[in-house]
């Protein structure tokens, strides 16, 4: 290699490494932001807790606030982190798998199926009633029946799409169109169930569809994390494959990727994570759709950096939204789904206007 060519090669390599370092710094800064918001969020609530007290409780030097921090606030904070991270990671993965910027946990009708499942549990299985309570206007008689039903119907939607993908060799466009059709079908079913519901059941159904991380206790946080963490690691490990997949099916095959298998596995994992999160915390819109686009605009589209950064930014967005939901009209606590939709829609429109280069 000529000396000059060697110098140019080293220069290109240096620039790329510098760019990669910037993407790593972005990830680390996001992590710091997440820890800061989490600490701040632990101090928010009816009882005044300072950041120092929260830290002391977390490291075990002060046990007087254990109940407030560990039993009440921490599960909520961790639920927001786990759900936000999971939704954002599967959003990023689905956009690549479907090669469509509108890909998200909700594009395939999974959330509509979950909402139908919840309504089915409340009306047909008698799982929900409204009661007056200090903290909530609605109490579910048996929240696990609602969760199981929502999860089961989410899986029905998932498997219809996966079967189509496997046996009919469906293209991403076909999968999206089927998802839209399934979403409409489940919405029709959901509306029909509402029509036959009494006032109490109707309130229960509507309340369930507001995504709310407060519903998650330690066990739910554990279950969501148990699925979100390995799924994120899977997408991270396969990030180069998904990066290649985004260059088109034929190019990906020419680069040695088993496209059908990769797409099927990705869809299966994404749908499962989505179904589980929705069934525990309800419908939380826009996180899965908006976060990957935000991250792409900030650090580019390389999946190896997109997946981990989307994971953290998703957690940041949902946790920040939940913190806003808890404080904006205190003492009334809003369900976080309302805040994410209010924030997400304008943010998405902004990204659409700014993101012309790829859609």
């Amino acid at each position: 290699m000529a000396v000059e060519e060697q110098k140019i090669t080293e220069d290109i390599l240096g620039k790329y490494k510098e760019y990669s370092h910037k993407r790593v710094y972005f990830f680390l800064l996001s992590l710091v932001l997440l820890v800061s918001i989490a600490l701040f969020s632990l101090t928010i609530g009816p009882a005044d807790v300072s950041i120092a007290e929260a830290v002391s409780t977390l490291i075990g030097t002060d046990t007087s606030l254990n109940t407030i921090i560990w039993n009440i606030r921490m599960p909520r904070v961790l639920a927001a982190i786990a759900a936000g991270a999971g939704l954002a990671v599967v959003g990023a993965a689905m956009q690549t798998i479907l090669r469509n910027p509108l890909g998200s946990p909700f594009t395939l009708g999974i959330s509509n199926a979950a909402a139908f499942g919840a309504a089915f549990a409340v009306i047909v299985l008698g799982a929900g009633t409204t009661q007056s309570a200090a903290e909530d206007a609605v109490i579910f008689n048996n929240p696990y029946i609602i969760t199981i039903s929502a999860f089961a119907f989410s899986l029905v939607a998932t498997f219809v799409i996966l079967l189509l993908a496997k046996y009919k060799n469906a293209s991403p466009a076909t999968m999206i169109l089927t998802g839209v059709a399934l979403g409409s079908l489940f919405t029709a079913g959901y509306t029909a169930l509402q029509y036959f519901a009494d006032d109490v059941q109707l309130a229960s159904i509507v309340f369930w569809t507001f995504g709310d991380v407060a519903r998650a206790a330690w066990i739910e946080v554990g279950l969501i994390s148990l699925v979100v963490i390995p799924s994120t690691l899977y997408f991270l490990r396969k990030s180069w494959d998904y990066e290649v997949l985004d260059s088109g099916d034929e190019s990906a095959k020419a680069l040695g990727i088993d496209v059908e298998k990769l797409r099927l596995h990705g869809m299966l994992i994404s749908s499962f994570v989505t179904a589980l999160i929705i069934s525990f915390v309800g419908v939380i819109g826009f996180v899965g759709l908006v976060v990957p686009h935000m991250v792409r605009r900030l650090i580019g589209g390389n999946e190896r950096y997109l997946i981990p950064s989307s994971c953290i930014i998703g957690a940041v967005l949902l946790l920040a939204s939940d913190t806003v939901a808890r404080t904006i009209i205190s003492p009334v606590v809003l369900p976080v789904g309302i805040v994410t939709s209010f924030m997400g829609a304008p943010l998405f429109i902004y990204l659409v206007i700014k993101g012309r280069e790829y859609w």
Binding site: T9, Y19, Y358
Partner: protein
Amino acid sequence: MKLKINGLQFSYDSTPVLEDVSFGVKKGEMLTIIGPNASGKTTLLKCINDILTPQKGTILIDDESLNDLSMTDIAREIGHVPQAGSKSFPTTVFDTVLMGRKPHGSWKPSEKDLEKVSNTISRLNLEHIAMKNIGEISGGQKQKVLIARALAQNPDILLLDEPTSSLDLKHQLKVLDIVSKQTENGISVVMTMHDLNLAARYSSKILMLKEGNIFAAGDVDVLDPKNIESVFEVKVDVIEKSEGLMIIPEEPVS
């Protein structure tokens, strides 16, 4: 023979596209497949690269059947430059070329992969756009990036599907100069092309396809008025110049 194709047949459902196609390509040879639209050129390239599976026939690389090779093995042997890249989301030129190292890597690129990509970008004079978004560069540059991606695969065979179709004259020559240079390194090139003059100028072998069959094959001399009229249904005049053959279209055969 680096690449050998015997009795290849392919059809989409019941529509035959390739019928009994056989030919070979030696190491360092540059074969151009020409033929009218829908003659099966792109399908043939896709069969060679295992993107499509032929119903009959064998494809051998160094006497080893394509069926005995894994997808990764094939990607290490064959670099493919499609007609146009179709990335859905933004990515840099460097990251695009880096995809070419996937068949050689595991789950993330190694230092060696990064060095190889930097070197390939440098060899193709793409250093000034290395960190640019692929969506921001011109069609000619994009074509060079896709060639760089295929070269990063370190292939023995390079397939190019109409590499000059959307390029201006200068970029057509630049891109084909790059491709031609690869044959000096022992890479065998198979490409499809519509421009007969460029095919005559750069190819060492020509394969003329008509309705899924080989009509004529051999040196550049097969590009004679009679063959061209039979395959393309256009009368032409062929003039021999020092730079090679010059083919001047006259009128379509009625």
